[in-house]
Amino acid sequence: MNTESWYLLLQVGLVATAGLSLAAGVISLVLGTFIGIFRVSPMAPLRVLANGYVEFFRNIPLLICLAFIFYGLPKAGITFPIFEAGVIGLSVYTAAFVAEVVRAGLQSISHGQIEAARALGLSYVQMLWLVLLPQVFRMVIPPLGSIFIALVKNTSVASAIVVPELMYQAEVIAGRYFYPSVFLIAGVLYLVITLPLALLVNVVERRLLIGRGR
């Protein structure tokens, strides 16, 4: 058994997993926020489509999403490189969960805030950007944290479309050396990403609560 090449494979996998998580995290945060806003928009068609988006992606497996993008879309003449396909699939899927949280946050803000903002002469977009979203994001940091931790774990599914992330590398090592315990090592490496993330969420949450004077 060659420990050197193992180490290298897992290292590459860890970096790819971190990259996937980060890219999909940022994209799904932006996309999910927009969809969350659309879900409470005054325009009925937007609301219906945004609600439908969330309902659809909450009810289908991530694997189907990834397979549709990686194996299906080339048939429609749309081809993505492997890594990008993984990022898009994960983002589109995770955005539904982000949207759900953002919508709940928006709906929990008292109506007086909206009336006050409009009475001050802020436009709709200004009201969202300056008054509502800052409050919403403070509120939803704990649930967003668990969504991102789930996202990190979900990146393992991207191994099914041969993204060379941690899970894929573990499969390669397990196959090459017939050493199943490598999956435990890979599992612990996922912890290496999710544990600091959980701690970070805790710290940020506490910091923001203090800022609010609670």
Partner: protein, 301 residues
């Protein structure tokens, strides 16, 4: 701005909107990705109509080709054999999910009770175990259990494990993961009960296990039924991961279909719809149960 949660009626319309929106998206996908070529459909129009619309024959030839390939791609789904093939996969998906959640319930209850135990030597190993398994991706668990079982089956030559290795591995891995998640749900359910319940039961002379069995757990299960059904939806979705090690559930069968007919878009679309219907109905059931229990029983609990 629709940010006003105080009207109870808006909740219902939001549900309906979600369903209608999802159906619109589902219906739009074949047109967006050319599974149903609009240009091709125009070629079916009578020649007189086409010339009236200003469509020339030269333009319609590639459209006709697109229509032909679309018909070939959809062809498998008008045949009974395809649906039988997929239904067997759906049965496997639902079966594996059901077995896993049923196995997980007693285990999760035990784990939740152990986690709430006053004895540290029971509590801490369980807490550690739960936290570790919960942090692992499900796919890792599936692969780990699968490779270990393969090894055991090779060395001991256990017949059952050898022939049903994949199915057993997926069930074991999903049961393990679901147990851990449900244990947390059930623990939260037990903690949400008023402490007076336990005290009253004990002061009536019930033993600890009687109090649990007759007073605490029945109330807990009524409370945690909706999150348990939500977990079942997750489980149905996670069963698709079994396809990666070759479990013949619905996604794997879909994969076999589209590799044979070379129509991944159409097949995956159909499978996504099947998943959507199953999980949507489960979600509705969870909501209905939740509404019934929280509606009339809140005072009683």
């Amino acid at each position: 701005m629709q940010i006003n949660p105080s009207r109870p009626k808006s909740r219902f319309t939001e549900d309906r909107q979600a369903l209608i929106g999802a159906l619109i998206l589902i219906a739009a996908l074949p047109f967006i990705f050319g599974m149903i070529p609009i240009g091709g459909l125009l070629t079916v129009l009578p020649a007189a109509w086409r010339s009236a619309l200003g469509l020339t024959d030269g333009l319609s030839r590639p459209h006709a080709a697109a229509l032909q390939s679309a018909i070939a791609n959809w062809q498998p789904f008008v045949e009974f054999a395809t649906w039988r093939f997929l239904t067997l996969g759906l049965a496997m998906t639902v079966g594996v999910s059901l077995v896993s959640i049923l196995l997980s319930l007693p285990l999760a209850t035990l784990a939740a009770l152990a986690r709430l135990s006053t004895r540290a030597y029971i509590r801490w190993p369980i807490i550690t175990g739960i936290e570790i398994v919960r942090a692992f991706p499900v796919l890792i668990l599936i692969f780990y259990v699968f490779t270990q079982f393969s090894r055991v089956a090779e060395t001991t030559g256990m017949g059952l494990l050898k022939t049903n290795n994949v199915t057993i591995s997926v069930i074991v891995a999903l049961t393990l993961y679901t147990t851990v998640v449900n244990a947390e749900t059930i623990r939260a359910g037990i903690l949400s009960l008023d402490k007076g319940q336990t005290e009253a039961a004990r002061s009536l002379g019930l033993t600890y296990s009687q109090a649990l069995r007759l007073v605490i757990l029945p109330q807990t299960f009524r409370r945690v039924l909706p999150p348990l059904i939500a977990q079942f939806v997750t489980l149905v979705k996670d069963t698709s991961l079994g396809a990666i090690i070759g479990l013949l559930e619905i996604y794997r069968r879909g994969q076999i279909l589209y590799q044979y007919f070379r129509n991944p878009l159409e097949t995956l679309w159909v499978i996504a719809i099947i998943y959507f219907i199953v999980n949507y109905l489960l979600g509705q059931a969870a909501q209905r149960i939740e509404r019934r229990f929280t509606g009339s029983r809140r005072g009683a609990l």
